[in-house]
Symmetry: C2
Subunit: 426 residues, 2 copies
């Protein structure tokens, strides 16, 4: 059993892996905008026309020529002739001339001649056909000009953007009913270990069910990939190599979870080394869980060896598999990860130099009000982070956890009462 030669810090290990991978050239496919939620844009989206396409009022009030209001005030109001009302959803038939105004609603199209809108609350009807104006407006006030939101030919959504509801809406606002998105990348998943049996099978003494194929498949799916399961491979170099080579040919990334014994973990590294150049980049990472993680690149594709322990495999899936999928989809690095700040309930020890990821359950710091409180009541009272311990490291310590607390490598632990950042596991 060879010893780990170097233990890289996780951030460094990930950066090395991503830097060694060639620049992604994601294949794209057409998608309707209304079914593109969660997909990643394969090209920049350019506005085919300006938004708004006509000058619009942002308030309810009277469309005017701004200069006709200069000097108007509560005590010395001006008076304008009412020439009509701007209809919603149509171009106004009227024109605003000198000393004239027209009733306009929020979102209504500014009539020709008008260059500003006086809010309703600063006006009142005077004599029939006349409106009293109690406040002056500047040119453009309470108006959105043509193209003020989006100019024609402006890049409104850049390539590599994961589409959220807001982007779907933006595309619809521009009448873009379809676009090209990155194809889901194929991620090959191999479980190894003589002790591992499929979940549908009743394990005999000494056997355990395959968990990693399914946690990682779910992680791949929610990250925008398509999992391809290659099943469970016995602890044999040749079998593992043959299966891994097939997966490497058919997929964009291969993830092998090793059996739990040290010899099978080492075999994974030997297989990755034999799959193609440059082979193993990182063998051993200075983190817990995840020390035996192996990162490799073979013939331009990433191959990741994860420990067989299900907690370790999933935590390191978040740390290493997801960033590779994002790179393959063309998503730029450096987006924030969802987290919350929370108060740690107990001391957490850690070894200096090693980065630890501790599963925690989050509970509200104090009982949440039901809205009965008075003015100024704050409902966001914060969170308590309660570590979930278990020497077994079985998957239910993660299923019970809302997130993971990182104990940085330069700390020897965290203290009870300390405010920590909890990475929420999606």
């Amino acid at each position: 059993m060879p010893e780990f030669l170097t233990l890289l810090p996780p951030d460094e290990a990930r950066a090395l892996l991503l830097a060694t991978l060639p620049a992604p050239t994601p294949a794209s496919q057409a998608s309707g905008t209304d079914s593109a939620l969660g997909r990643v844009t394969a090209e920049d989206v350019v506005a085919p026309h300006p938004l708004p396409a006509f000058p619009r009022s942002t308030v309810d009030g009277y469309a005017v020529r701004a200069r006709d209001t200069y000097g108007a005030s509560d005590t010395l109001p001006g008076y304008l002739t009412l020439v009509g009302e701007v209809p919603m959803g149509a171009a106004p038939a009227l024109t605003i001339g000198s000393a004239q105004c027209a009733l306009i609603h929020t979102g209504g199209m500014l009539p020709p001649g008008a260059d500003a809108v006086v809010m309703l609350e600063y006006t009142q009807p005077a004599r029939a056909g006349e409106i009293e104006i109690q406040r002056a407006v500047a040119e453009g006030e309470n108006v959105i000009r043509i193209g003020e939101d989006v100019a024609e030919a402006q890049v409104v959504i850049s390539r590599g953007t994961r589409l959220r509801p807001a982007e779907i809406g933006g595309l619809m606002a521009l009448g873009i009913s379809g676009l090209r998105v990155a194809k889901r990348v194929k991620i090959g998943l191999i479980s190894s270990g003589d002790e591992v049996v499929p979940p549908g099978q009743t394990p005999q003494p000494g056997q355990v069910r395959d968990v990693n194929s399914y946690t990682l498949a779910a992680l791949v799916t929610q990250s925008g990939g398509e999992p391809v399961l290659y099943g469970i491979v016995s602890d044999s170099f040749d079998t593992l190599k043959t299966t891994a080579m097939k997966a490497l040919n058919e997929c964009d990334l291969v993830v092998i979870t090793a059996g739990s014994s040290a010899s099978t973990r080492d075999m994974t590294a030997e297989v990755i080394a034999a799959l193609g150049a440059p082979g193993v980049l990182v063998h051993g990472i200075n983190t817990r869980p995840g020390k035996p993680t192996i990162l490799g690149v073979c013939n331009g594709k990433a191959v990741i060896g994860l420990p067989g322990n299900p907690v370790s495999a999933l935590v390191n899936g978040y740390l290493f598999v997801v960033p590779v999928i994002e790179k393959l989809l063309g998503i730029p690095a450096g987006k924030p990860k969802p987290s919350v700040k929370a108060k740690l309930t107990v001391n957490l020890a850690s070894q200096a130099g090693r980065e630890d990821w501790q599963p925690v359950r989050l509970t509200p710091l104090s009982p949440q009000g039901r809205g009965a409180g008075g003015e100024g009541e704050k409902v966001d009272r914060g969170w308590l982070a309660e570590p979930i311990f278990g020497k077994s490291n079985l998957i239910f310590s993660l299923a019970a956890a809302d997130g993971l607390v990182k104990i940085p490598s330069d700390a020897t632990g965290l203290s009870a009462g300390e405010i920590v950042e909890v990475f929420l596991m999606p």
Copy 2:
């Protein structure tokens, strides 16, 4: 145009709405575990058997009877007779008797007679068939007992849990290949406004495309609901009421986005009042955007009126529509929302007493290293939150934003340099 009678704070408004809704009775359906990612459990999941199902070693080493190691140390080691090796994936054929040991791998089944494992690094081969033990172990050391992770009949995943990769793995570990999940709840979406046309249509002057049906449909989909689009309804009380009544009969929640003018917003409230008892609960919320939001309950179902402005509709969708969907699915309230802490780049003014939600773009606080840095380099340097302003409030101010900063109602603004919490818009 009636004035808003009372403006409730958003948290209070939401609490009132949720408290007025009857207790949810989510309909359930069968799902395969491997396709249940993101679905919500409709009943408690109970462990059919303990985990682990047999005593397992957590390390590579030698299975022993603990009492045979008492007193062993570097300088005064003990010696045990090696009786064999525990195979991976099978029950060991051997038994550990007095002064005996067997080689065992991580995850291997503890042989009968053994009650602890000595780690490999505290042993070395002595004479043929004999192992030198350099450290004592206590009973149970480096062993997971039967049921130590999960006991038989233990509730391992409670009802109302949204299934993540960890839960999928936990179910597989127990051989649970299918379970009952809450049916997707149906959310009826109605857009109103004479100025609104379908996105496929080229707007004439004065017209705008329907954005809200699609942003809200995407939000509903990703929250676990099934959007039902009722299209665009003209600014007519009777038409809107007829459509809303149909939606209320067919769906679990109805969301109406009003046209942008004040009169259509007020019409929405009148329609909700006419749909069923108790009708309108909240008309006007002390927030920006979203002041004209209307919350109602009609015949036991929530009806929400959102402003027609797409930014306002989507932001208030996150604040009010998503929590109702979660309640309908049986998810308990009070789960943390994903956020990040960030440093505000500029001052943000706000009106005291009103809660503001400001779209911001997040950029790394300082350029991110590419892993080239030395030991102890910290990559999590934090984020800058740069507000996206725009009087237009059109949808691209949200499409450009990573999240929303809340300016609490008891603040009159936030200062540049202040650390703020940014709610990440999923």
